[in-house]
């Protein structure tokens, strides 16, 4: 027997022409940035091969960090602005291998191994803090990131040479206290990137780095199909209902943020092994912001993020990064304009996304209040 209740009629999206509009509307943000990227690339007058080469390098070193943002979004904790903390944990591993002077791929692996317990601890602490501030995770993780930055400086400016004695003039400041502003990582550079490396039409492909990214993509996909992933998704939908269904929400949130933090630590190590220098006190500073901006440009929002968003967004954001100073120079006769412009894009896209999300939430709450 059928209950004979009215079945919901699906919106007719199948009409010819409509689907195109539908696709356009659904992907408005990435498409707008695509247009901007194309325009800026043309304006910059840079050779395409150069842009593509740069882009491949930037994708290989940034994608891991960007993808590490996805799980907290799925678990309803919003954009993890505390990604900085994970990056710091990664740098702890890097500083350790610098002190021990382990180079090459061994050093890379050692950094990963050594940073992981720190990342787990930091992630766990971040999670505890965010569990105390449910509903305002993003502003909290933002401030937490700033706070951690201060703590980082205190540890490595004051701690080195006082608590932890390091007799290495190459990395310690003249006074014997504090790490130098820039640490050289030539001994580690390209240890992952150039393990398997070949060029196609003048474009270098760091195969292992992309394999690492691919494994991470697979892992993120995989986790969504598990029991744990189902719990992440339930939390993301409605914390209260998940709790009523008996899911240990606080614990699941801790797990989500810890995974993100550990991935960010590894991501930062991959990043630095490509760059080859560690700016002790500001390499990590912009990590959270740039990764988040990249993810959002790909079409993600505070409540929805996919691997495709991450890849598309990183590609677009970094194309803009590559070409905008030159475009600024050509168009306004000032490269600085382009530089400020890309910073504005990063902040602006995050600001816009947060604003739209908050507005939507407010309107939704208002609508719910009035509907019966």
């Amino acid at each position: 027997m059928n209950t004979q209740l009215a079945t919901p009629t699906k919106p007719a999206a199948g009409k010819s022409g409509n689907w195109l509009l539908h696709i356009l509307r659904a992907n408005m943000v990435p498409l707008m940035f695509l247009a901007l990227c194309i325009g800026a690339t043309i304006a910059s007058e840079l050779p395409l091969s150069f842009v593509i080469n740069e882009l491949v390098v930037r994708l290989s070193r940034n994608l891991f960090l960007v993808i590490s943002l996805i799980i907290p979004v799925i678990a309803g904790m919003g954009l993890n602005f505390a990604l900085v903390i994970g990056a710091m944990a990664g740098q702890v591993g890097l500083i350790a291998v610098k002190i021990w002077d382990i180079g090459g791929f061994n050093g890379f692996l050692m950094a990963i191994l050594f940073s992981t317990p720190f990342a787990i601890l930091c992630g766990w602490l971040t999670g505890l803090c965010l569990n105390k501030t449910k509903g305002r995770e993003m502003i909290t993780s933002m401030i937490l990131g700033f706070f951690a930055n201060g703590a980082w400086q205190a540890v490595f400016l004051l701690g080195i040479g006082t608590v932890l004695v390091v007799n290495n003039p190459e990395i310690v400041l003249k006074g014997g206290i504090g790490l130098k502003n820039a640490l050289d990582y030539k001994f580690l550079q390209y240890s992952l990137d150039k393990m398997v490396y070949f060029e196609v039409g003048g474009i270098g492909i760091p195969v292992m780095s992309f394999i690492a990214v691919a494994v991470l993509c697979w892992f993120t996909r995989f986790i969504v199909t598990t029991k744990l992933g189902q719990e992440f998704r339930s939390l993301g939908q409605d914390l209260h209902i998940a709790q009523v269904a008996g899911i240990p929400t606080d614990k699941i949130r801790l797990i989500a943020i810890t995974i993100s933090t550990v991935l960010a630590a590894w991501g930062q190590i991959i990043f630095i092994q490509n760059i080859g220098t560690l700016n002790t006190y500001n390499s990590h500073e912009q990590v959270g912001m740039f990764s988040i901006a990249a993810l959002l440009i790909g079409g993600a929002t505070v409540v929805k993020a996919t691997i495709t968003d991450a890849i598309v967004g990183t590609a677009l954001f970094h194309t803009l990064f590559i070409v905008s100073p030159q475009a600024g120079n050509v168009l306004f006769g000032d490269a600085q304009i382009g530089e400020f412009f890309r910073v504005f894009i990063a902040y602006g896209v995050i600001g816009m996304s947060l604003l739209l999300h908050a507005w939507h939430k407010y309107m939704e709450a208002k609508r719910k209040l009035l509907q019966e």
């Binding site: 993003m138 206290i177 209260h240 412009f341 504005f344 604003l355 939430k361 407010y362």
Partner: protein, 349 residues
Amino acid sequence: MNPMALWKKLTDKYGFPKVCISLMLAIFFIGAFMQKQDVAAMLADSTVRIAMNGILVLAMVPSIVSGTGLNFGLSLGIITGLLAGCIAIELDMRGMSAFLWAVVMSIPLSAIMGYAYGWILNKVKGDEMTVGTYLGFSVVSLMSIGWLLLPFKSPEMIWAIGGAGLRTTIALSGRYAKVLDDLFAIPFFGSKLPTGAVLFFALFCLLMWLFLKSKTGVAMAAAGDNPKFAAASGINVNRQRMIGTVISTVLGGIGMLVYAQSFGFLQLYQAPLMMPFAATAAVLIGGASARKATIAHVVSGTILFQALLTVSLPVINAAMNVGNLSEIIRIIVSNGVILYALTKVGGGH
């Protein structure tokens, strides 16, 4: 009374941050005496910085009282203040009149900015702090392009070579540097107390106090305390929030000019980015929360925070030789205090 009970009583009464910071400050002062530092100069220095930052901290009051929470978007007001400061130089004004004209010009600019900001905040109720922070960041970075493109001509302000765009730091010596600080300055053990700047700050505190006692101020406080109550009493909550935001932004602009005259420079581009956080931290140290703030919180918080920053630097530097410490303390204390306040607001669910 046992120490634990005393501690609890104190933190209950004054709030955890205030007690902690007072304690830290006391320790640093003892340290300063023991190291035989010039404590009088430290006090005078602290006074300068208190008067310099006071109005920026005061700007938090209308925003908290009207219910929009901590104003992380204060940089919007700071930018309009900077703009007015630049215009005063462009018009080739000097001295006190340049400063006062800058203040006067900043008010309409800030009011327009505040109106737009308030309009947005009324659309994102409940998420004002997150949105405000990034709105501030966005506008600061957009304005970075603006500083490059705005058609200022005064050679004091534009890059010496190349010509286009304003400098990152514009020196105010010969314009309106220290005009308030030096007004009625009183000698104090070889230093000067900035009487004029302190009086200026006191004047604004008094005006704010009067405003909070006025019919509008009372309505604003009601809207902030309980929007549903206010609506049921026929108070237009959105309008009150708007008033609070506009006043906060205007004070941000004026506060920036006071800061600049004391500092001696206008800092453009990315400099305003993190300024709201220091102001927020000060009012929180004073015992305010994201929902409640008074003039007393502003005054005590500014005194404690700025004195801590001033005193800690020479004391720690004398103990061990590392640079940039004051900056580290500022970052840790201000963000620590804000974090603490956020955990106290309670979970949204």
